[in-house]
């Protein structure tokens, strides 16, 4: 019953999607569904099939087999109806550089049939929210990569899309721009927009997404919530530690319960199956070596480790 409710709440339904380019099977039997108002993360290494899947979901590419339904409409049969409800933010901020941000947004809005008077007000609001209102009449060619990406986002938000597809929206941006774009994504979710996000940034997916699919070599390797994925792969934890002075080389790897030691900056990340016992041994080690802890933390399985495990298994 619960499962039935979940299916009926799905706004994006993908069934057995397949796409082959010559001999290469880019996407192989990919199926998943995205619930309404959910942020769905789509992760995968380069060449895993993320962009091909995204292009099939947004109607840019016809699948060899399988179907994509968005809000009940089959994108292959009713591409125009579906596209009216979508917003797409490609990886490269592909806006018209000869136009100003306002002209770009006006053009985008008019493609969706929005009246010019309505678009102008909404465009100005979006530009203000994205912090580029002052530059609204400057040609985009003078903008930095981050500013162009903000204009691209504004173009995708102008039609009050029900589903927003974002392809690596924060790739290559500075910390402030990344933070702002993540905030905008969360705001869009609050207003009822469903968000499909492809990203390389695992921390970003961990922070934003309610559900994550990991794709590798064209196949879905896992789909679940970030916490469930971490739980499934929780074979080992790590203890992160730093001392007031460097311990003798290789001494940490001799400590009992230690599986693996990795130096990260001024800290050591020690993988273990039993973090509580390891901490006791570390305390004895510090006392013996006459060194003091400056930092000690137990780390759970990270999403990055889950990702690496899944994508390396596929190789």
């Amino acid at each position: 019953m619960q499962e039935q409710n979940a299916i009926s709440m799905s706004i994006v339904k993908v069934n057995n999607l397949k796409k082959t380019f010559q001999e290469t099977r880019a996407v192989d039997n990919v199926s998943f569904s995205v619930k309404k108002e959910e942020i769905f993360g789509f992760l995968g290494p380069n060449g895993a099939g993320k962009t091909t899947t995204l292009r099939m979901l947004t109607g840019l590419l016809k699948p060899d087999r399988g179907t994509v339904h968005i809000n009940g409409w089959n994108i292959d049969k009713d591409p125009l109806k579906v596209k009216m409800k979508l917003g797409v933010i490609p990886e490269v901020s592909n806006i018209y550089k000869d136009l100003t941000p306002l002209q770009n947004i006006l053009l985008a809005g008019r493609f969706y049939g929005i009246k010019r008077s309505t678009i102008t007000g909404k465009a100005e609001q979006l530009l203000q929210r994205l912090g580029i209102y002052e530059q609204k009449d400057q040609p985009v060619s003078e903008f930095s990569k981050g500013m162009r990406q903000k204009v691209s986002i504004a173009c995708a938000l102008i039609n009050n899309a029900e589903v927003l597809f974002l392809d690596e929206p924060t790739a290559g941006l500075d910390v402030h721009s990344r933070k702002l774009i993540r905030e905008v994504i969360l705001e869009m979710k609050k207003t009822g927009v469903t968000i499909f996000l492809t990203t390389h940034d695992i921390e970003e997916a961990n922070q934003l997404c309610e559900q994550i699919a990991i794709i590798n070599r064209g196949r879905i390797a896992a789909i679940d919530t970030p916490e469930n994925l971490k739980r499934i792969f929780k074979e080992s934890c790590a203890v992160e530690v730093s001392f007031d002075r460097m311990p003798p080389p290789d001494s940490l790897s001799q400590i009992e319960e230690t599986k693996h030691v990795e130096k990260r900056g001024d800290k050591f990340r020690i993988t273990t199956a039993s973090p509580d016992r390891l901490i006791k041994h570390l305390a004895s080690f510090a006392e013996k070596e006459n060194i003091a802890f400056t930092h000690l933390a137990v780390l759970g399985t990270s999403l990055e480790e889950v990702f690496l495990t899944l994508t390396e298994e596929g190789k």
Partner: protein, 247 residues
């Protein structure tokens, strides 16, 4: 609903192309100077009667101006990434193609109305407007469609498209009977001239300006329509096949 969306997107693609690609000083200057350079290249130093050469000059000018920017728009947009954005809007490949064609057609018509006016200032042609106007519209549509067809190879670099475009367009001019009247051409050359749409357009211009023509007027219109339909159908098919190549 779909027809409204399609009509709107065609109009917006046309407007976007004119604003971004045609309404630029270098492009307008090129359009205005091109007929003058054609005149210098093909008329000066040759014993030709300008009165009878002008329709051919106008035909060459319309052919080149209508088909000059069309081959470059898709490669430019693919290079800039804007083609992918355009495809994400409620548009189809057909509406993008039609928008590209209409923009080229309007550019060709605007430039060549000026060229015609210059011709009409110098010569007193018995202008047949009822033939001239439809010929101008149909000719520019046909040539602009050829331009958009030339944009369809799956290349990313506009320079490659330019080479390919020149390779196709120049021979079409030379076999078209602009420089030698059709009735003076040898059999092989005349047969060749029938595979160039410019031949039929020149014949229509000859009739509407000088009153002389070699082929039946209806045949000229039908041939231009048939070439337009062929170019449009090939452009649709090639663009559809190659639309993601070079992205």
């Amino acid at each position: 609903m779909s027809y409204t969306i399609l009509a709107r997107s065609t109009f917006l693609v046309t407007e976007k192309n004119i604003r971004i690609y045609y309404n630029k000083p270098p492009v307008i200057i090129f359009g205005l100077l091109f007929p003058f350079f054609l005149f210098l290249s093909f008329f000066m130093g040759r014993e030709l009667d300008l009165f009878f050469f002008f329709p051919g000059l106008l035909a060459m000018s319309l052919f080149f101006t209508s088909s000059s920017v069309g081959p470059l728009i898709t490669p430019w947009e693919k290079q800039a990434g804007t083609y992918e954005r355009l495809l994400s809007y409620p548009v189809t490949i057909n509406t993008i193609i039609m928008g590209d064609i209409l923009a080229g057609m309007m550019f060709g018509i605007c430039i060549n109305i000026l060229v015609t006016l210059v011709g009409l200032i110098y010569f007193t042609y018995p202008l047949q407007l009822l033939i001239f106007i439809p010929a101008l519209f149909l000719g520019s549509f046909c040539f602009s469609t050829l331009g958009v067809l030339l944009a369809s190879p799956a290349v990313r670099s506009p320079s490659q498209v330019m080479m390919f475009s020149s390779l196709i367009r120049f021979p079409l001019i030379f076999i078209s009977g602009i420089f030698i009247p059709l009735n003076e051409l040898g059999e092989v050359a005349r047969a060749l001239s029938y595979i160039s749409p410019v031949t039929y357009f020149v014949d229509l211009l000859n009739y509407s300006l000088t009153g002389q023509h070699h082929l039946p007027l209806l045949m000229n219109f039908c041939a231009l329509l048939a070439f337009s339909a062929l170019f449009l159908s090939l452009a649709n098919s090639f663009h559809r096949k190659n639309h993601l190549k070079g992205l």
